[in-house]
Amino acid sequence: MIGDAIDLGFRAMGFESAAFRQVLASPGAAAAAYLVLLFSAMMLAFSQSVVLFANRVPPVRFVFALAVAGVQHVFAALAYGLAFVAAGRTLGVEGAGPGGVLALVALSWAPYLLALFAVVPHFGLGWQRLLEGWVAALMVFALAGGLGLGLPLALGVGLFGWAIGHVANLVIGPLLGRLGWRLLEVATGRRLEAEVDPAEVLRTQAAAISLPAGLP
């Protein structure tokens, strides 16, 4: 199952229309697409784990927090899928039902299977941007190839879906962001800072230092 999912993911990365059509035709392939999304989300979470290191999360909590962050990425992808469903319905586009669209979007996240390489210093940042563009292009391609919409209509649905997602993010994004952050804090067992300045941390620590014995 895992091998099939990885194979499906790599076929999707190569912009193979058949991979996306397979997801709509076969429940097994749809399950594999969700597995691809889960792996991709975990890889993405790991590539962004510097915030956990920065906040000095202990190893066991670190793994737990990665799992939580990965699940959050899964929900983010599925939220995109729902935005596409809403866009399609608004534009009167006929095609697969919500489940099919969600599976297509799940498979579109396949490039993030390679998110591990975003860890590489300096060049990893460029790789991360490349993956983001790759996933965006694949989402449109999935709508075009999987649903047979044709590229212009798929692009329209994609852009409209992105706009819906953006507006939704403006409305409930901050609340969801706080909730997600809170979940991460529960997982790590500590209050997390988004930006950690080492000099400020040392300053705080210095104030708490008790001078060695023998000194006044």
Partner: protein, 346 residues
């Protein structure tokens, strides 16, 4: 057959480079998180600084910290050229102290042959004679180059550079730096060491409250926040040194298209200067530390590099310029100094 072998060799090389790249940031991140390395960010901090804190009665005109290039495996395994550079620079600056006994390619200053899991391997790779075989030498270069990129990366750089700044501050305290009588500090960095000097400079200035000047000798320089704390950066480059020029290509924030980057702001404020050495390459017999190749005026490349570096140190002494950033990381030293003063220890 030969093509297959060549392909396999290239593929293997690529895997090694990727694996090394994936592992590169975790030394400094693991150290910062407290998973690995010395426990100096917690209780050990005060004890370690106290051990280092012994201000000298006589303070020099300036202190010069030298960080060498990426082919170093340890501060104890330097090649003859590097040792001679340090000796010649110290001779040219009798009033200054030249400090070169630190290893900058680790966030906590741990040399490759230090207390590490694979220390035996690196020790075997880097022979004390400094004669490294090509492939093995490349492994040290790759490992250290990735640390330079870690320093330049906005995600990991703050932790790596902060750790390196601590290593530098400790070296200065060991040398007798007196916070009450601060002297100008010049960080001299060759190649990758130039980037590390620049990256750590901001934290060093914030910790000690002394103006920090950076002299880059063929430095592979990125646009890093540390440059905000540099009083003056002088980049010495050979006219035939294409490696240092790669920094302009590899780091987009040095491009003119990003006018608000740290580099471009420093450049506009007139704090970045360049000096060219005609005919000098990045490394080797015709490099900055070449002892045979000669400039048009008859000096060896080594002599020209030493003379120019010494001139820049003298300029820093005569015109130290003000500190650019407020003190922030100083309280640890302050508290120890206060305690020692009250005890009558100074």
């Amino acid at each position: 057959m030969i093509l297959d072998l060549a392909f396999a060799a290239v593929a293997l090389g690529l895997v090694v480079v990727l694996a090394a790249g994936l592992l590169a940031p975790f030394e400094s991140l693991g150290w910062w998180a407290g998973w690995a390395g010395p426990d100096d960010m917690r209780a050990g901090e005060a004890t370690r600084l106290r051990a280092s804190f012994a201000p000298a009665a006589e303070q020099p005109d300036a202190r010069v910290v030298v960080l060498f290039g990426i082919n170093d495996a340890s501060q104890t395994l330097r090649n003859d050229h590097e040792r001679q550079f340090v000796a010649d620079l110290a001779a040219a600056l009798p009033g200054a102290r030249v400090i070169a006994d630190l290893f900058p390619y680790s966030a906590f200053g741990m040399p490759l042959n230090g207390d590490r899991l694979f220390a035996w391997f690196w020790q075997a790779v880097a022979t004390p004679s400094g004669r490294l075989t090509g492939l093995l030498n490349a492994m040290i270069n790759l490992r250290n180059f990735l640390q330079v990129l870690t320093s330049a990366d906005h995600r990991y750089g703050p932790f790596y550079n902060f750790g390196l700044a601590q290593v530098i501050v400790e070296a200065l305290l060991r040398d007798g730096h007196d916070p009450a009588r601060p002297r100008p500090l010049v960080l001299v960095g060759y190649s990758g060491g130039g980037q590390l000097s620049l990256a750590a400079a901001g934290y060093v200035q914030e910790a000690l409250g002394v103006p920090v000047h950076v002299v880059s000798i063929g430095g592979f320089l990125a646009s890093v926040p540390g440059i905000d704390g540099v009083a003056r950066l002088t980049h010495i480059h050979g006219s035939r040194d294409w490696l240092q020029a790669m920094g302009r290509l590899v780091f987009p924030e040095r491009w003119a298209t990003m006018p608000h980057s740290h580099w471009n702001r420093a450049s506009r404020s007139g704090r970045i200067h360049t000096r060219e050495l005609e005919g000098v390459t990045h490394a080797g017999p015709e490099g900055y530390f070449g002892r045979e190749a000669r400039m048009a005026d008859g000096r060896t490349h080594m002599e020209a590099t030493v003379a120019l570096t010494a001139d820049l140190v003298r300029a820093a002494v005569s015109d130290p310029l003000p500190c650019r950033l407020p003190l922030r990381a100083r309280p640890v030293v302050d508290r120890l100094e206060e305690a020692l003063t009250r005890r009558g220890g100074r």
